[in-house]
């Protein structure tokens, strides 16, 4: 699967979409869901929670693993995808459509540090397990 060019990425396999209203939407990449296997549970952060970049804020749980998901940027959580509570398999079906949470970033300088699609592709490719 190709890595969407219109998104940004982190080394820890999160994708980031910049929205028109200044918030960002966050999910995990296709590679991440493939490594985890069939997802059975997604824990999203509480709305209103204030996160620092790199802080553990969510969990994606499969039968064989529970992966921590980290805040790609510092900011406040504004929304969480309630659909994933009953249907975590949506992330397996289309990792880029199944968003996990949104946040209002508070440090514009951090955006520059995110990876573009090509740079992320290199990381995902090297991470063969």
């Amino acid at each position: 699967m190709t890595t969407p060019a219109n998104l940004k990425y982190t080394k820890s396999h999160e994708w980031v979409k910049q929205e028109a209203d200044g918030t960002v939407t966050v999910g995990i990449t296709h590679h991440a869901q493939e490594m985890l296997g069939d997802l059975v549970f997604i824990e999203t952060p509480a709305i209103g929670r204030k996160l620092k970049q790199g802080e553990q804020c969510a969990v994606a749980e499969s039968v064989k693993a529970a992966a921590d998901i980290y805040a790609p940027l510092s900011g406040e959580v504004t929304a969480a995808n309630a659909e994933l509570a009953d249907a975590p398999e949506k992330v397996n079906a289309d990792a880029y459509a199944a968003w996990m949470f949104r946040l209002q970033p508070n440090d514009p300088g951090e955006l520059a540090g995110l990876l573009d699609a090509a740079a992320y592709q290199v990381i995902a490719g090297a991470d063969k397990r």
Binding site: V40, F41, E61, S62, V63, P88, E89, R129
Partner: protein
């Protein structure tokens, strides 16, 4: 069929319930239970037949070869169970005075002394109820030691990346942070990496030797020096003691605190998941912090030492003296083996493992560390097999069930891809090992010529592969009458 489905309203077992109709009832009306608990109403024959038949669905040491790495599935001698269940031992209340339990306490005291002798440690507590509880206590003891010396900043526990999951989990439960140390290609902790990681925040290093990779950490003396020089202490995870029992003492390797798994090395029963026992041994520096209770002897009399005897103890981990019945079983086992028998354990566990490793290599399997001796266990990696045929370690494990063998441990340690961790133990004969090799050889052939047979195994067990994703997504964790 569940026991509830055999239930019929009104079915009773009169010989099992108290005979006399209760006279007095002073439970306030508002506190009397009104809802009927979901317990089955079955005859004694129904219950006996049901649970007997369920037992027959299990693999067990008494029925199958069980080469589970890191679990030490050796024969559980029947005498141990029989003697631990003598009626007077079973009838004794834990809070009965010590002079009503001198026989029982004598067994525990002697077990303490034997464990000291085997490990070279200065003091032993039998209190922890499993390896994980022992680990928690050991880390708590290390912390207490540093705090008592005014060195409270030492809150970091170092753990090899190949360590058993209970190691980091126990350290965190104890309020410590965990730092992982990489293992090199030979399966050992890299001294250079360790040196870079130690410092003024190091509380200690948790180590298993032989390691979880099945090989002896021959840099142990360097490791010991690095950690002690930096002011940290050394914790020994005794899960693999079976490999070196009678040959090497953990105290001689420089460990300050160790736990033993009696349900591994001392053959107490696994019981479908427990109970175990995880006694702790402490070097002289850590003896004052041992968890309570410890069995003490004053002249001829035994008693359980308490907070007044060990004021610096990290405390109690359970209400009573640990898994007492398990300790009695271990005592009987240790007495049956004695000095010579215990020495043979390490020797023959290692002989069996090296023999099996060699035979599996000849059969075409790839061993993770071909240049190293096996300890009491070794790792086979099926990475190449997966690439050639698509057959994984999980598939091979499931196919072994069809051949009448319980699978080895799979996917642990995490560092080796597609691995099987194989531990035969000393109680298995050459004939059993050869039969296992034969079965593995067949599976290898099947993987190449009929991979689908292996990938869809098992076929001959009471159920085939289960939908674990469904189990985790749709929680059915308790039977409810209307839903089924």
């Amino acid at each position: 069929m569940l026991i509830f489905e055999l239930s019929r309203p009104g079915r009773r077992n009169p010989s099992q319930a108290p005979r006399n109709a209760p006279g007095l009832n002073a439970i306030p009306e508002g506190w009397q239970r009104k809802s009927r608990p979901l317990l089955p109403e079955v005859s004694e024959l129904d219950a006996v037949r049901h649970y007997t038949n369920l037992s027959r669905l299990n693999f067990s040491i008494d029925t199958h070869f069980y080469p589970l790495g890191s679990c030490t599935m050796k024969y559980n001698p029947r005498a141990c169970n029989h003697l631990a269940m003598l009626p007077q031992f079973l009838a004794r209340h834990p809070l009965a005075p010590a002079d009503t339990g001198q026989g029982f306490l004598a067994c525990l005291f002697e077990l303490q002394e034997m464990l000291k002798a085997m490990t070279g440690m200065a003091g032993v507590s039998l209190a922890p109820m499993a390896g994980a509880q022992g680990e928690f206590a050991g880390v708590a003891m290390i912390r207490a030691y540093h705090v008592a010396r005014g060195d409270a900043a030492r809150t970091e526990i170092l753990v090899p990346d190949a360590a058993h999951g209970t190691n980091p989990a126990s350290a965190v439960m104890c309020g410590c942070t965990v730092r992982e140390i990489p293992t090199d290609a030979q399966g050992n902790v890299e001294p250079a990496a360790l040196q870079a990681a130690v410092g003024p925040r190091t509380a200690g290093l948790m180590l298993t030797n032989p390691s979880t990779l099945g090989v002896f950490e021959h840099t142990i003396l360097d490791i010991e020096k690095i950690v002690h020089d930096a002011g940290g202490l050394l914790y020994y995870d005794g899960a693999n003691l079976n490999a070196i029992l009678g040959r090497v003492k953990p105290a001689d390797m420089g460990f300050d605190v160790i736990h033993l798994n009696l349900h591994k090395t001392f053959s107490t029963p696994h019981g479908g998941g427990g109970p175990g026992a995880g006694p702790l041994g402490a070097g002289p520096r850590l003896v004052p912090y041992l968890p309570l209770p410890v069995v003490a002897r004053d002249g001829d009399a035994y008693r359980l030492a308490d907070e007044t005897d060990l004021p610096q103890s990290i405390g109690r981990l359970s209400a009573h003296a640990g898994n007492a019945g398990v300790l009695l079983r271990a005592y009987v086992y240790a007495r049956l083996l004695g000095r010579e028998g215990l020495k043979r354990v390490g020797e023959f566990a290692t002989l069996n493992a090296n023999y099996l490793m060699g035979e599996l290599r000849k059969a075409g399997y790839e061993v993770a560390f071909p240049a190293r001796r096996a300890s009491h266990e070794f790792i086979v990696t099926l990475k190449a097999l997966r690439e050639e045929t698509g057959v994984t370690a999980m598939d091979v494990a499931k196919r072994l069930l069809d051949k009448g063998f319980h699978a080895p441990t799979t996917y642990f340690p995490l560092l080796i891809a597609e691995c099987l961790l194989i531990e035969p133990t000393e109680t298995e004969s050459k004939q059993t090992l050869d039969a296992f090799v034969q079965a593995m050889q067949e599976i290898l052939e099947e993987a190449h010529h009929n991979p689908q047979l292996v990938k869809s195994a098992p076929h001959a067990t009471p159920v085939r592969r289960l939908d674990e994703v469904k189990a985790a997504r749709e929680h059915d964790l308790a039977w409810k009458p209307c839903a089924h």
